[in-house]
């Protein structure tokens, strides 16, 4: 029996060593390569999900980096905020993309507790996790936390490959965000589907995401960072849908009650023609150019 237990313990140790070792390796690689260091002149970061990914073109900006990522819940935005700020003390302004959709409880199942989503996100973020985030992920989905951690060694191998191959060692290697151009064009299809689908949907604020937003708010308060909420343009067909209007009313009440001290730049009703959209909520390259110019003109970003 002793021999059996010894073997089991050795096996578990070897296994844990690989997992923990790979998480530590990732951390070391990231720090050694300075991947979390932004350019010195950058003092603003944009956090959010796909809507800001496709709408804030930071190639046009000198002091702003867009670090939002597709399908990123505010949970991940908070992790990025904390990590980037500790590596870039000159950050002054934090722009968080926030609209009724970001805080909808639909996000819970799609972006927070969904196994496939969690398991793909975890290896990218786990080396930035604190105990609180481990606990939260455990609450979201226990099995996925374990699966996700197990994927760390694969992520390490990919990271090593990228570090060897890449000429520009910067935050983009981490694949945790950045401006992208959306080449799909499904606007007509989506408008048609919106018109056919008039069924009323319930809108509720996600309790999990509301807590994550509170974490962002508290962090910015404690660190004296200027926090700004930003909503990006949506297509006029969607603006006028009953569901959107109901959701907006509900959402606006929530923001007014809890975050009245935070400036809220709402561009959801900005007038743009169809060529500026790839679908109902995502901007095309042209849309992103116009929208980013607008943000520059109004002094939201530099």
């Amino acid at each position: 029996m002793k021999q059996f237990l010894k073997k089991i313990i050795k096996y578990v140790l070897a296994f844990s060593l690989i997992v923990v070792g790979s998480v530590i390796c990732n951390k070391i690689f990231i720090n050694a390569a300075g991947l979390l260091k932004l350019k010195n002149e950058v003092n603003t970061i944009v956090l959010g999900a796909s809507r800001t990914v496709y709408s804030v073109n930071d190639h046009m900006l000198t002091q702003t980096t867009n670090i939002s990522a597709n399908a990123d819940a505010l949970f991940y935005s908070y992790i990025k905020l904390r990590t980037l700020h500790s590596n870039n003390p000159n950050l002054k302004r934090i722009i968080v993309c926030l609209g009724s959709r970001n805080l909808s409880d639909e996000i819970d199942t799609r972006w927070l507790t969904s196994p496939s989503h969690l398991e793909s996100r975890l290896p990218q973020y786990i080396h930035f996790y604190t105990n609180k985030e481990y606990y939260k992920t455990w609450e979201y989905n226990k099995a996925s936390l374990i699966h996700g951690i197990m994927r760390s060694p694969l992520y390490t191998l990919k990271m090593i490959k990228k570090l060897v191959q890449s000429r520009n060692l910067d935050i983009r290697i981490l694949n945790i965000g950045g401006f992208k151009v959306d080449n799909r064009n499904i606007l007509t299809k989506e408008i048609k589907s919106l018109n056919e689908n008039t069924e009323a949907k319930m809108y509720n604020i996600s309790v999990l995401e509301a807590n994550n937003l509170k974490d962002i708010y508290d962090y910015c308060k404690n660190k004296n960072l200027e926090l700004i909420f930003l909503d990006t343009p949506i297509h006029s067909a969607l603006q006028n849908s009953t569901h959107t209007m109901d959701a907006e009313t509900y959402f606006n009440n929530f923001i007014n009650e809890n975050y009245s001290d935070i400036p809220y730049y709402d561009y959801s009703r900005m007038k743009l023609d169809d060529s500026c959209f790839n679908d109902l909520v995502h901007l095309s390259y042209k849309g992103a150019l116009l929208f980013t110019e607008k943000l520059i003109d109004e002094g939201v970003v530099q």
Binding site: M1, F4, A14, F15, I18, P115, A143, H147, M150, R151
Partner: protein
């Protein structure tokens, strides 16, 4: 509780430690621990249905005791009848009641009547088909005087509800498993390590191969109308592999856990994907059920004795019952019948006992003849899955007609292209499965002694690679297919 869940990953080590370190000196307490842990394991799914297992155990324990005392043959027959009536009655009510009512209504409606009978909302208790057959084997064997009645109710109750094989087998015979509860069990290092290997291989088959194949197979079976012939044929082949890996994976885990606890369960699958004939396929597939039917139904019916007509009739009855055991649906009956039709010719010609030796013994590759035989058997069996996997007869008909009509080749490539990543992943792991099982086709399980001669670094490296692939590429904790039976 599922074997592929976190709950079970916590549950098993706790039971293992208490079993071997805390209660190892007292056999009765050790059996009591197994009984309680089995009830926890089952109750985790739905504690209300524990009452059924307990009820079934009480009936068969009492019947067993009375059979031991009864002297007159008539009384013994009555006692056996009570056991069969209650056990099959419970199974019949929970599993088949709605099926019979619906079929009855359909039959009357066809003749223009509409009887005022309603179906009930009945939940099928997990594992009922498995533990009912297990307890029945006890009553029948005691009746046949092949086994002494049990006077130790803890051992008996633990035998009925033994958690490793409670919900999806192997269906153990009382003659094999029950005596193991009476004897003090000694920890055996080799057996335990090999048990762990078998569990690891079982998990790989279920979580990595079956669950990844499921991602391809489900969309094909769910929308046969939209799929091309080639994709539908591919779906049949992949489902063949999926159902094998899902079910044999469960059996491997069950046998592996039992070995960790000092028990030996009977082998349930002997590499049926490499079968060279339908006879060999059925000899090596779900062995515990096939032999149960053989010993308690087929042989008492006359088996392969008598005229060819008699043999043919018995074979078809056996396969149809076997199909019906799987589920209360005409699809399973058709599946069983079709397998019976495939099997009958070789049985009538007395060729069903061929291929008793492992395939290509002491050779690396099969001969061309063997390969052709494997290929033909595999595809014959795959065609039966049109019924097995379908929701109803209409669905299987739709699947079959779509194979004949949707002959657009480009559509096939589009499906694969749209699911390329999942497809490649499934194919990669299926290839590993075939390779490992082919190498070990004469051993009790896929990882038995494979790496024994290799240096420790290679051996552990491979074990770790399998462990990581289970944790990394595992699907979404999908339940085992056979749970529904």
């Amino acid at each position: 509780m599922l074997f592929n869940s976190i709950e079970f990953a916590i549950f098993l080590p706790i039971i293992f430690v208490i079993y071997w370190f805390v209660v190892n000196r007292n056999l009765k307490v050790q059996n009591l621990l197994l009984l309680l842990s089995s009830y926890i394991f089952y109750g985790w799914w739905d504690w209300r249905f524990l009452s059924l297992i307990i009820f079934s155990s009480i009936i068969d324990f009492t019947v067993g005791l009375q059979l031991g005392r009864a002297k007159k043959e008539l009384n013994r027959k009555w006692l056996l009848f009570i056991s069969i009536f209650i056990n099959i009655g419970l199974l019949g009510f929970f599993k088949y009641y709605n099926f019979f009512i619906e079929s009855f209504i359909d039959a009357f409606t066809a003749f223009g009547h509409s009887p005022n009978i309603h179906t009930l909302r009945i939940i099928l208790p997990v594992g009922i088909s498995f533990y009912t057959f297990q307890t029945l084997s006890y009553s029948i064997d005691v009746y046949r005087r092949k086994l002494e009645p049990s006077y130790d109710f803890i051992s008996f109750f633990a035998f009925v509800s033994f958690f490793p094989q409670l919900v999806a087998g192997p269906i153990e015979r009382a003659t094999n498993l029950l005596p193991q509860f009476y004897k003090k069990r000694q920890f055996n290092l080799e057996q335990s390590i090999d048990g762990l290997r078998q569990m690891l291989w079982g998990l790989f088959k279920k979580v990595v191969v079956a669950d990844n194949l499921c991602k391809i197979v489900d969309p094909i079976y769910n929308n046969p109308d939209e799929m091309s012939s080639l994709v539908l044929i591919l779906g049949l082949a992949l489902f063949s592999v999926q159902i094998y890996t899902d079910f044999s994976g469960y059996s491997d885990i069950a046998i592996g856990i039992s070995r960790l606890l000092g028990f030996n369960l009977k082998i349930n699958f002997r590499y049926p994907l490499f079968a060279r004939s339908i006879g060999e396929r059925w000899r090596n597939w779900h062995i515990s059920l096939s032999t149960w039917f053989r010993d308690y139904i087929y042989i008492p019916m006359g088996g392969s004795r008598g005229s060819n007509l008699n043999k043919f009739k018995n074979t078809l009855i056996l396969f149809t019952i076997s199909g019906f055991w799987h589920g209360a649906n005409w699809t399973f009956i058709c599946w069983g019948l079709l397998n019976g039709l495939y099997f009958a010719p070789s049985m009538l010609r007395g060729r069903n006992r061929r291929h008793l030796e492992p395939i290509s013994k002491s050779k690396i590759f099969p001969s061309f003849k063997e390969f052709t035989q494997i290929f033909t058997t595999f595809w014959l069996i795959a065609t039966t899955y049109i019924f097995f996997r379908a929701d109803n007869i209409q669905h299987s008909k739709q699947y079959f007609l779509s194979i004949l009509s949707n002959t657009e080749i480009r559509e096939s490539f589009r499906f694969i292209e749209n699911n390329l990543e999942d497809f490649l992943k499934a194919m990669f792991f299926t290839s590993i499965l075939f390779l490992v099982e082919w190498i070990n086709r004469d051993k009790p399980h896929g990882l038995h002694g494979v790496f024994e001669m290799k240096p420790i670094v290679v051996r552990w490296g491979l074990y770790l690679a399998i462990t990581f692939s289970i944790l990394i590429y595992g699907g979404e904790q999908a339940p085992f297919v056979y749970f529904q039976f």
